[in-house]
Symmetry: C2
Subunit: 113 residues, 2 copies
């Protein structure tokens, strides 16, 4: 899968508060769809829909355990996402450094008057 | 704005490849809506729609310059987003460390047989 589609799926999966809540619950350990439905307060099909989206983004894996579906946290494609975010952050830090240097130069000019 | 809404808006804004392309073009410097429309190959209203979403996520600022609208890159709420991503990454690194330690223990047991 090309990097752009990885970013589409991951950012899109993470853009929903219910899906981030599901990840938060799974941090504590594996859970079934009904284990997730209770604290989140939505229907089983609703939870399943969100879990599917998280599964497509490789943020969750599921497996059938008897009659229940066990959900587990997965690492996702965090390297790609972190690279993208870090690139953006560094860009801003460089800009802020340049702005700071500019402000200092202007201040020194002011002091020299 | 609560952190959850910040994450909703930022992840949602970043989930579209056209919007990430717009940010990529603005890295090189400010651009008008038509400067953006040409390389991206979509209509002016289409670009404007994407720019509005980026603006709501504080990833772009715009200002009227005569008859054109100048777009500039903005830092967004990258601290919140980076914190969230970093939390998830660290969680995985800890899990991988534990897994590695477990595998090493099992290997040592195997060697000792």
């Amino acid at each position: 899968m090309v990097q752009s589609q990885v970013l589409d799926r991951t950012f899109s999966a993470l853009s929903d508060p219910t899906r981030r809540d599901i990840l938060g619950i799974l941090e504590r350990g594996p859970a079934s769809i009904s284990d997730l439905a209770e604290p989140i307060g939505i229907s089983l099909p609703g939870v399943l829909k969100h879990v599917r989206i998280l599964e497509e983004a490789n943020l969750v894996t599921t497996s059938k355990e008897g009659r229940t579906r066990e959900c587990r946290l997965a690492p996702g494609d965090m390297d790609e996402v972190t690279d993208w975010i870090e690139h953006y952050r560094r860009l801003w830090e460089r800009r802020l450094d340049r702005l700071e240097a500019y402000v200092e130069r202007q201040q020194r000019k002011g002091d020299g008057r």
